[in-house]
């Protein structure tokens, strides 16, 4: 199988998520202002910063341990639907990694799919509801397809990040059907979903670190 992802790389992924969210914090907050209360960036930044505090990965010996730490820290710190949904996403990825010390591309793709299922279980989102799942679902499919087609993990993750960004852009034309933004109905049309935007950053971070 192409490529392998170990605990150190996953730690680098989490640090890159934290950095990207920090860079885009105002964009995420402003997108959230169109349908929510303008704090999506600040809330995620608080969670990822706590999850990736200096030395956080030193004693982590498996993907499961590391992702469980990130997921439970986000659940404990972030609150709101972002905390529950992102926390569940990483906790389900952790579970799906089993006891492996490192995972291959196919396993990572399964983990991502398990994380996506966690989001569905927690919040009931489907594609088209204008949520973070609109970025994640096409990324999961793109990763699977690319690996099956024999792409390297690096290029498959690149395609997944691009699919996530296209998914993010697809939310501009949608009216929100889940979460706080759904209370505004058609008034959310014309703006990308804040959650879909942060999820696209998470997948972009994966493409630059898990190679």
């Amino acid at each position: 199988m192409n490529g392998r992802v170990d605990t150190a790389q996953l730690a680098a992924w989490m640090c890159e998520c934290s950095r990207l969210i920090d860079v885009h914090i105002d964009t995420l907050n402003d997108l959230d202002a169109t349908g929510g209360d303008a704090d999506h960036g600040s809330n995620l930044e608080r969670g990822f910063t706590a999850a990736t505090a200096s030395g956080f990965s030193e004693k982590m010996t498996s993907p499961r341990e590391l992702l469980k730490h990130v997921g439970s820290t986000i659940v404990d710190i972030v609150g709101g639907s972002s905390g529950a949904v992102y926390g569940t996403f990483f906790l389900r990825m952790a579970l799906a990694s089993g006891e492996l010390k490192w995972v291959d591309g196919a396993t990572f793709a399964q983990m991502l799919r398990a994380g996506g299922q966690g989001i569905i279980d927690r919040g009931g989102a489907q594609v088209g509801d204008k949520t973070l799942y609109d970025s994640l679902a096409p990324a999961i499919a793109a990763l699977d397809n690319a690996l099956v087609a024999g792409e390297t993990l690096a290029s498959a993750l690149q395609m997944a990040a691009e699919a996530a960004e296209a998914g993010r852009d697809s939310t501009v034309a949608l009216a929100a059907r889940k979460g706080r933004a759904s209370y505004l109905g058609d008034r959310t049309i014309g703006y990308a979903d804040a959650g879909a935007t942060s999820m696209a950053l998470v997948l972009r971070a994966a493409a630059t670190t898990l190679i």
Binding site: D37, D39, G79, G123, R180, Y183
Partner: protein
């Protein structure tokens, strides 16, 4: 931004410290778990009631902890639901051996975090039931959506179910009356301004002087629609029409009418609005017999108000009138 703040990141903790300092005989701040609990334990065997939600809506819920209402409240960050850890700690604190009712407003984050907490609590043998508050008529009640928000009905449920628990009702009965109150309550809110979350430092959106947001919630997000400003009579008429069309009360029904301020509207204006509502309801052949006017479910410094109407029955009325001692609602003599 001009606000009474230290570090905006500590705005919630600082307010909880002050709340407990101001009302030491009513509440305690459990800083380790970041929850507000009653200063004195209720009698053994009382069904516990807890609620939680984003801060910024004060006095909801922390101001309603005390005799006759809640046993504990879990305040989240500003406009962000609490985390499962807080809900677990509040449930443990509220349990006197007869179970705990979770009062959950229908916001995605709140529902998900209470859901995660309930999964964790399943290991502990505490009987838990829940009531989902969804009284906001500004949102169509359709399958496949997040559903209606929980707004003013939350206060009425906490008061009436809290009184039921205080008189010794069991968990099933307390849950039942809580659901009955929610089922017979509707709310519609109107915003005259945006609000400024401390960490953001500026209003969430711009609202011109001659426009208002109708169909607002309690987290500073825009409403269902932006319309031209109109006079108070017309606003009252809109609110009443929205609420009554959905509530469909029995002709002549006894009503509890709540005119709730969003935080920055003077009490005098709320009474102007109440007067208009009261008159219009009586003209419609209805009978407002109880009222609550003031800032009870707010959105920081937003100007505006929400109308909440509950169609009362005799038991609800008795429980509404029962003695209560919280930092924000207090009446009747305690036994």
């Amino acid at each position: 931004m001009k606000k009474f703040l230290n570090d905006p990141a500590h705005a919630v903790t600082d307010y909880l410290v002050g709340l407990a300092a101001a009302h030491p005989t009513i509440v305690k701040f459990d800083a380790a778990h970041r929850i507000i609990v009653r200063a004195a334990d209720p009698r053994t065997g009382k069904v516990g009631l807890i609620a939680g939600g984003g801060s910024g809506c004060e006095p909801l819920h922390t101001g309603f902890v005390g005799h006759g209402m809640l046993d504990a409240a879990c305040p989240g960050e500003i406009f962000t639901s609490p985390v499962p850890k807080q809900i677990v700690a509040a449930t443990r604190a509220a349990d006197q051996g007869s179970g705990v009712l979770h009062v959950i407003k229908n916001f995605s984050g709140e529902v998900m975090n209470f859901g995660m907490a309930t999964e964790l609590l399943a290991f502990e043998g505490i009987a838990i039931d829940s009531v989902l508050i969804d009284d906001d008529v500004s949102i169509p009640d359709m399958p496949g959506t997040a559903g209606r928000r929980g707004l003013g009905a939350t206060v009425l449920v906490e008061k009436i179910a809290g009184a039921a628990a205080e008189r010794g009702d069991d968990l099933a009965s307390v849950t039942c009356i809580a659901r009955r109150v929610n089922a017979r309550t509707r709310t519609f809110g109107v915003g005259l301004s945006s609000c400024t979350p401390p960490l953001r430092g500026k209003p969430i959106y711009d609202l011109p002087d001659d426009e208002i947001e109708i169909g607002i919630g309690i987290s500073g997000e825009p409403g269902r629609e932006r319309v031209a400003m109109r006079n108070v009579q017309e606003i009252a008429r809109t609110m009443i029409a929205e609420v009554l069309a959905d509530l469909r009360p029995t002709p002549g029904a006894a009503l509890l009418v709540m005119v709730n301020g969003m935080g920055a509207t003077p009490l005098s204006e709320l009474y102007v609005l109440y007067g208009e509502c009261d008159q219009a309801l009586r003209s419609a052949g209805l009978n407002p017999v109880r009222s609550l006017v003031g800032n009870y479910v707010t959105s920081l410094d937003q100007a505006g108000a929400a109308l909440t109407i509950l169609e009362l029955d005799d038991e609800m009325t008795v429980l509404w009138d029962a003695p209560v001692r919280t930092s924000s609602i207090t009446w009747g003599a305690l036994a």
